[in-house]
Point group: C2
Chain length 168, copies 2
DNA sequence: TTTTATTTTCAAAATATTTTGAAAATTCAA
DNA sequence: TTGAATTTTCAAAATATTTTGAAAATAAAA
């Protein structure tokens, strides 16, 4: 497989993959393009490479910057903005975990805490099943939350070394 | 908060939450409804509770059964099919991990294996960045794959007990 | 068998999301 | 300043996804 074919394949698959994770195709494709680019790119470069409109590239790049996955870099003497992606996949994963935890897990945990003290007779089977289910999800979330915190703090070597040996 | 309010809130939030994970709102709401129901429900029950059409409930229930999160149960003497959800959240999570691993992670790993042997001069910076990125993702995926396998095999007590102590 | 209840399918309609592109805003050099 | 280059915004258009509901298929009862 030639490099252009492989790039094409990677960008397209990465985009398809991302849709299973609630991330839009274009955002993932731009991320993929930047991940395999040895040098920073401009919005025009991305428009050309991926055949996208200026507005679309602009919106999705901003989203990637918000997620902390892409940085705007200013090259001396250049008028245009350049963008570059963090290449260390461990750091990428850590950043995604951190953001999703903040955006999704934490709000969900706040909701569960509220829902747990529902009024009603604990002997009523509907009340019981509701509180049991909420309680179960709350416990699970708490464990997941703690685990993710440790993963975020851990560096790659610690993870790959100690944890994986432990897991085997 | 009364039980009906709390149920409503849970079902609606669970649906919204799910959209961030590439799961459709209705499927998640049906799942939520079954999670808090102490007894099995029919498709008609779900249609009424969630104000959905018959076709919609039918499709999404089938999807939940495919994911292994919901079971069809036949009550003796009853003509209609009843459905019930696995209530143990650890088992739910394990099942989801297992399925997503099979449906997404494994195909991605096969693709990465192919993309790694792209033709071209390793000294070319484009080739180098491409193979480095793919290699990095491949390594990371391999670690994640192994970790998920252990989590799937581990039982809840082992996980919550030993693993979380380890993580602290 | 025939009838009735129930489930499944799927084309069309409704809804939601993404993409475009041109206008407005901003930035920077002259 | 002014004006050219660049970035941002956002309403409208295009596209994709979800939902409906009625017809077809299936299963059970009469």
């Amino acid at each position: 497989m030639t490099l252009p074919e492989a790039k094409q394949q990677f960008i397209s698959s990465w985009g398809a993959f991302a849709t299973h994770w609630g991330i839009n195709r274009t955002m993932a494709q731009i991320h993929a393009l930047l991940l395999i680019s040895p040098t920073p790119l401009t919005q025009d470069d991305m428009m050309t490479e991926l055949s996208l409109s200026r507005g679309n590239v602009n919106m999705n790049i901003r989203e990637l910057v918000d997620w902390g996955l892409v940085d705007r870099v200013l090259l001396p003497g250049e008028r245009k903005d350049y963008f570059t992606a963090e290449k260390d996949i461990w750091k990428v994963a850590t950043q995604i975990i951190k953001e999703r935890k903040k955006r999704e897990l934490e709000p969900m945990m706040r909701l569960l805490a509220q829902l747990e003290n529902v009024e009603g007779d604990k002997k009523d089977k509907d009340v019981k099943q509701f509180t049991d289910t909420i309680g179960g999800i709350k416990n699970f979330s708490k464990q997941a939350d703690r685990m993710l915190d440790v993963m975020i703090k851990a560096d790659e070597n610690w993870f790959v070394g100690s944890l994986l040996k432990f897991f085997k």
